[in-house]
């Protein structure tokens, strides 16, 4: 049945995002878990939570793999089954899917989905190398292509095909920095000007510093239940009514089109169909702005505008807090920050706040339907979820 809840979010937690010096990933995850427990006094975490699914991209950062068990332990949840999901920057989008499967199958009543990454203690060249591991090694990394480089290839192609401009990209950065300035948990809580964005130093031409997401430490989590029992835990659950995930070639060079992410389009179609909704129904969205061009492509792939018109949508301000369809009210990966493994469920956290009226200065009035769009790497994975106020 269309629009039937698959799972319900009864609580959510987010650590501070930023440079969290002296903390290890598991300790940051404990912060997120603590917030989720405190928000939901009717939940007895040790008794009720039956499984953990956690997104984590890389063991290189901390010489630490096996994140599932470690995170469960530090969240005080031993001895539940705990599994790490890895899909690059969509690792916790994939964790959320796995958690939905667990409750929708009836195997578990209550589960936790989350994600974590600790990045800032490593140098930028090291992080650049670790991030690149989510792209194709033999043909992309081996020839010097970086993550910003892959999205720069998409930006050049988008500009060439549709006339998208650097100024339009800068509008995305200005908007997300403004939203981030209203989010006390954002990594960068400062507004920037178009001028600042346009004159910032080049990272991978045509992308400049303010076109790039941040290297950030952080963790996020959600508590999900079977929809039938959500009201036992809270009067204000958020139902997940659509879920999509798709894959694509690891190398972007093998794709027919560099101006769109096919996996995101397929995942979006699945989620919209499951929810019985169309792009016009979405009140607020968190999309994967790992680079400003990625947000513009997301508008197009999600159907918020026609292909090629994403730049104009940003320029006209239609995706600002007061616009037709507010996007990245949290500040997005650009300003809130992008601890890669934590991002998918951190997007869901923001939508949870928006649909339960807890988004404070960033609150979108009467938000009832939300969407998250989480892209792994350069688009070889995408997960899209649609949420409805309970």
């Amino acid at each position: 049945m269309k629009g039937k809840p698959l799972a319900s979010i009864v609580s959510a937690g987010l650590s501070k995002f930023g440079k969290l010096e002296g903390l290890y990933a598991r300790e940051i995850f404990a912060q997120a878990a603590k917030e989720a427990y405190e928000r939901c006094p009717k939940l007895d975490p040790k008794k009720d939570i039956k499984a953990l699914f956690i997104g984590h991209m890389g063991e290189s950062y901390e010489h630490q793999g096996h994140t599932g068990a470690t995170a469960a332990d530090w969240a005080g949840l031993l001895h539940i089954p705990a599994t790490r999901t890895e899909a690059a920057c969509s690792s916790s989008g994939a964790a959320l899917r796995a958690a939905i499967f667990a409750v929708a199958s009836g195997l578990c009543d209550v589960v936790m989905a989350g994600g974590v990454e600790k990045m800032t203690h490593r140098s930028t060249p090291e992080v650049t190398e670790f991030l690149a591991m989510a792209s194709d090694f033999p043909f992309e990394q081996w020839h010097g292509i970086t993550f910003p480089g892959l999205f720069a290839l998409m930006a050049t192609a988008h500009m060439h095909k549709y006339g998208t401009t650097e100024g339009q990209l800068a509008h995305v950065a200005v908007k997300n920095h403004y939203n981030g300035s209203l989010n006390p948990k954002a990594h960068m809580q400062k507004e920037i000007t178009l001028e600042q964005a346009l004159t910032s130093r080049v990272i991978a031409w045509p992308l400049k510093l303010y076109d790039c997401s941040l290297i950030t430490d952080g963790a996020s989590c959600l508590i999900l239940t079977r929809p039938e029992i959500a009201k036992r835990y809270t009067d204000t659950p958020v139902h997940i009514i659509g879920s999509g995930q798709a894959s694509d070639t690891i190398g972007i060079y093998e794709r027919d089109d560099f101006t769109s992410l096919k996996a995101a389009k397929i995942a979006a179609k699945q989620a919209y169909e499951m929810a019985g909704l169309t792009p016009e129904d979405i009140d607020v969205a968190e999309v994967h702005d790992c680079f400003t061009i990625a947000e513009i492509i997301a508008y197009e792939d999600l159907g918020f505008c026609k292909p090629g018109e994403g730049g104009k949508l940003a320029e006209k301000g239609e995706t600002t807090l007061k616009g037709r369809i507010p996007v990245n009210t949290s500040g997005g990966l650009k300003a809130k920050g992008h601890p890669v493994g934590a991002t998918g469920t951190a997007q869901a956290y923001e939508i949870y706040l928006q649909l339960t009226g807890q988004a404070d200065k960033r609150q979108v009035a009467d938000a009832e339907i939300g969407l998250t769009h989480n892209v792994g790497g350069s688009g070889a994975t995408a997960t899209v979820h649609i949420y409805r106020r309970g």
Partner: protein, 133 residues
């Protein structure tokens, strides 16, 4: 008789070290794979033949990398792009021997093979790049 060559990435780079750009053509559906693969993603066939690919093509998109991974830091800024070879197959690579501000989408480029560098580490793949002609 020589061992038949496996349709693998390792073999692709062995061919590159002999200055040959080779793809694997599916005997069933005709798709040319770069890199070669042991299982055709289009028709699931495992029957392939080697075909030599054109070394010339046009630039579809490009970027100039300023912030590079550790290994490439000394080369930055450098250009990389995706080149469509004359038979339609696409391949990424660095673009060299041209001022960075003269690079344009659509420009014609040809492949240049580099001398293999012998190190102790995996992998020992030789590199190539593209330049105008």
């Amino acid at each position: 008789m020589a061992e038949p060559q496996a349709f693998t990435i390792e073999q692709f780079y062995k061919n590159i070290s002999q200055k040959k750009l080779m793809g694997g053509k599916c005997r069933k559906c005709g798709k040319i794979h770069l890199p070669p693969r042991p299982l055709c993603d289009k028709c699931l066939s495992t029957e392939f033949e080697w075909v030599e690919l054109p070394q010339k093509g046009k630039l579809l998109t490009y970027t100039i990398i300023h912030v590079a991974p550790t290994q490439f830091q000394s080369m930055a800024p450098y250009a990389v792009g995706i080149i469509q070879l004359e038979n339609g197959v696409k391949i990424p690579g660095m673009i060299r021997d041209v001022p960075l501000d003269k690079i344009k989408v659509g420009m014609r480029l040809k492949m240049e093979f580099e001398e293999p560098q012998h190190t102790q580490q995996w992998p020992q793949w030789p590199r190539y790049h593209f330049k105008p002609f």
